[in-house]
Symmetry: C2
Subunit: 600 residues, 2 copies
């Protein structure tokens, strides 16, 4: 097998670039800046087959400097595959046997879609400095032109990473009835000031290159040095500090410079791999990208700011109908997790079905390109949710005899909004959804559990409860469920208060440390008790704030909380007996209580 | 009061710039690169008075682009004071009534000390591209020339932040007997790869400015644009993402551009304050700094790498005699806390007296300049330690009747190395030092406690024990003391194993959850017990892994740990009685055990 065959063995191909052209006549194609373009050229690729109802579409939005070639290979000699090949293909997360996948080169770029190097029909010369300013919205409207041209009636999912995430959000805002699902990866509602600072420096470095000439350089020397330096700078922001440290250990042998980089050597060079690496990145970029396109697209990202545009993120997302999967990357500092979380929060507070994931990676922002396999796990499940609503899962683990579950089911009304804190694999919410059509959202730390939730179509936020709920708006849920986790929290009282801020009622279950078997273990054996309910050793137990039923009722009194309902659940005969004769604190093994603030 | 009087009211002044010149004859002043300089000019400032023994000196090392003007004002019209004025002056942390303070402009700079713009006596023209490459070591040796010129016999403390920290470490390495104390702030053993990446881009941006001309531009146009862009880039790395976000809220009114920045406006400008701010930083810098100096000094920092130079950080620090205070800043990502901690670790593992502090700031790397008052708290105490060794503190809080303390004192040998985990205000270590001349180091989270330790001259590391001890070398202590904190740890067993890796013996004290009063509270009241030993509510107790004396002895058996000594300490009569008749697990209120690995 030849090297290229090996590279291509899991990939689609050969795939082909396609082009469309549309004239917009007198009116032109209107841009958000107020100017118009007389016509649009769009270069794109498609994989898979559009079905008869023209609705099996997965639309990929390209990030800043990528292009339409998102998967597969163009010819057998290709040494590369598309930039998200790990994610898209036969049997992959975005399965081309099932979906019709489209990706286009973005407006303002330099790879076949109309951009500053295109010929201005009015002058017969490249637009250059005359190319109008474009926006993320313009990019999306251009893509809609392509969707219409392809006869697409409905998009099942729009997927975008980085600036592609900006476009995905705009797709959801502009065409709410056209789209079922949105996947947003390593993105944010706008650039941070720090990211914007780097953008400003990169822009100045390009526009102050003596060859830039205000953007009209197509008939002379290109501003290569400025563009290369801008790229070196940007490239550092795509990597993480940790990733760079691993890659460029200073102790590493001093590699020979490549030819491309020797040309840029300075008397202050240290002859370290990092120098040649950055210069290579700059030189390579200059070969494949146009400075005006870079400035145009960067300007579109710099000015993207949903909060300023719509008044608030919530107002921006209000009309979106799609279910959303939002993923952030731990070491991404260009689109930092905290910025990405604002997207999640706004979807949550506009009562959308939002699932959020926090991926651990050392690759920084570039992780959204490199970690295709990892991303595929959640994206694949999100695109292929199990629709068998009849299959209610086995949730007997919650309370063995079902008394508590029955109480909970009776308490819940149709269409209630429910927050399940520590929701595990989503079984309870899936069951409640099937039975009562509730809108449930889970919170869970564990990734495997979260993947199960996604597969069950249960929205879930990856989150550590110890970090609080301050991103969730007041009274946004009818009921919160806290199943056996209160005693594991760093600050149980603080969490309880937080939960009662966001939900009207809280259903809470806990093991009773006052149970007779617990007391006697300490009394007679003089050791920290272990039991079916408390199976850990003292030094490794997650149950760091144990309490008794009486402790709990006293706390409710003190905090002005009303116990609406309470049931006790026991396996043991003595426990059952003690409970039966009213010695609840001695008898109870497990407790379910539904509480509320008294002033309700 | 005029504005400048108000600005100057707590400052020294007027202070004056001073100059020295020294010819080095035939041999020249030898640089680490192998080349020589025929003579040195050094510009410096001094505050306070050198005492008769010429040893009351505090030496300040300048960071990259600062200068000798570290405190006070030059004339009544000055609108600024020196760059570390908050720290240095009458009654301030570096008290000029007590100390003779010196700071010089560094070698390679452009403010009066020999640098690339100085006249090369061989040619009668500025050195320019002919200026030899300088190193941090060269800067320090130049400063030693000044110290000798001033007749200084001994330096009490060298203080340096950022690149000044690089110099401080070199001072300690080069002149171990000359220096008593080192203060290193926001520094690291070398640049991270990320920081170095930005340095490379900045360097390329300057050297590729068409006006740079290889460094020989003094008779033509200066490379102003390149230097300004390099500065804008560097400036972003001095701020934190959080700090920038606070400073440049996108919603902020669009400020008018300053004149200086309008000159650089581009068609892609967004007219936001961040643009004018960065351009102002660039323009201002070009007025006060020379591109060759910037490249020279940056090159010295880029190539500074103690590990490569000496084989390891430990080997670099081995010969240092000084006591060290090392401070990192939470939001500094140019010299990140983790890099700074490597300095602490290396001093710790070469058995120096090292104190480390973690300062919380939103100012990023610039915090070392801006947070002068905050830094002054620890630096002031570090320079003015209490020498009254007779004053042993009140440490009765450890064990009420002193039985445990006596056991501990008997167990400890003269000159033992002791690690006190959770050392509080350092009283115990101060007492043990006075009595047994131990070399003690504390670990503590709380800043107020740490300041007390510093004042008592007890070395202490600011550290969260839950984050482990993996930076401490094996068997580096004779004894570790863990006073009433094991039950507060997230992972008590893991910590215990870690402690026994770094220390031969562990003296551990804990409250006994098996005490009769605890048991009866749970038995008869059915509530989580509260007592003098356990004063918290179940939901807010830091004691998250309670255990009984029996639990503890069983754990020791299981883990193969030997209990060398044990004493029980009680207040309560019944507890005393129960202990006396051998019912220790029922009787003990508090326990001190000294344990070791069995194979000792």
């Amino acid at each position: 097998m030849r090297m290229s065959e090996f590279l291509h063995k899991d990939s689609l191909g050969p795939v082909v670039e396609q082009d469309m052209h549309k004239d917009f006549g007198e009116d032109g194609f209107k841009l958000e800046c107020g100017e118009t373009l007389p016509a649009l050229d769009i270069r794109f690729e498609t994989y898979g087959t559009l079905n008869e109802t023209a609705d099996n579409v997965v639309w990929i939005c390209s990030p800043l400097t990528a292009d339409a070639h998102v998967a597969g290979f163009h010819s057998k000699e290709d040494k590369h595959v598309g930039w998200w090949d790990a994610l898209i293909g036969k049997g992959k997360a975005v399965d081309t046997d099932k979906f019709f996948v489209v990706c286009s080169n973005i407006l303002g770029g330099c790879k076949g879609t109309t951009g500053p190097a295109s010929i201005n029909p009015k002058t017969g010369k490249p637009y250059g400095s005359k190319f109008p300013k474009i926006s993320i919205g313009d990019m999306v409207r251009t893509q809609k032109v392509l969707a219409d041209y392809l006869g697409i009636k409905h998009i099942y999912a729009v997927i975008g990473g980085s600036m592609g995430g900006f476009q995905a959000m705009k797709w959801g805002i502009f065409y709410p009835d056209f789209i079922e699902r949105l996947v947003i990866i390593a993105s944010s509602p706008r650039f941070s000031s720090q990211a914007l600072g780097f953008e400003i420096v990169a822009r100045d470095v390009i526009t102050q290159d003596p060859n830039f000439n205000g953007g009209d350089y197509y008939e002379s020397e290109f501003p290569r040095i400025g563009l290369a330096n801008a790229r070196k700078l940007a490239h550092i922001t795509y990597l993480s500090a940790e990733g760079m440290e691993q890659k460029f250990k200073r102790a590493a042998a001093k590699e020979a410079h490549t030819k491309a980089t020797q040309a840029y050597a300075t008397p202050f060079d240290m002859n370290i791999p990092l120098e040649s690496y950055l210069r290579y990145q700059g030189a390579k970029f200059v070969e494949r990208f146009d400075a005006n396109s870079y400035l145009q697209i960067a300007h579109a990202t710099d000015t993207f700011d949903l909060e300023s545009e719509y008044g608030s993120l919530e107002k921006a997302f209000e009309g979106i109908h799609a279910d959303v999967l939002n993923i952030n990357l731990s070491s991404d500092w260009l689109f930092p997790p905290d910025e990405s979380r604002k997207i999640t929060t706004a979807f949550l507070n506009t009562k959308k079905n939002i699932t959020s994931l926090e991926y651990d990676t050392a690759f920084g922002h570039d992780g959204f390109l490199i970690e295709g396999n990892k991303l595929g796990k959640s994206i694949g499940r999100f695109l292929n949710v199990s629709n068998s609503k009849s299959k209610t899962s086995n949730i007997s683990t919650i309370f063995s005899d079902g008394v508590a579950l029955k109480l909970l089911q009776n308490f819940i009304k149709e269409n209630d909004r429910i927050l399940d804190l520590g929701c595990g694999d989503g079984s309870l919410l899936a069951t409640l959804k099937a039975q009562k059509n509730v809108q449930g959202i889970g919170i869970e730390k564990d990734e495997t559990c979260i993947l199960s939730c996604i597969h069950k179509d249960v929205p879930v936020l990856q989150k550590d409860l110890d970090k609080g709920l301050n991103d969730i708006a007041e009274n946004s849920f009818d009921l919160a469920i806290l199943n056996r986790t209160l005693q594991e929290m760093r600050d149980p009282l603080g969490l309880l208060q937080e939960i009662l801020r966001v939900a009207k009622y809280v259903a809470i279950t806990f093991p009773n440390f006052g149970n007779w078997s617990v007391r006697s273990a300490l009394l007679f054996r003089g050791r920290m008790p272990k039991s079916k309910e408390l199976p850990y050793e003292w030094y490794n137990t997650p149950n760091i704030h144990l309490f008794t039923l009486r402790d709990f009722t006293r706390l409710c009194e003190k905090q002005g909380l009303k116990i609406e309902k309470m049931v006790i659940d026991n396996d043991d005969a003595l426990s059952k007996g003690l409970t039966a004769i009213g010695l609840k604190n001695l008898g109870a093994e497990r407790v379910l209580a539904i509480i509320s603030k008294k002033d309700l």
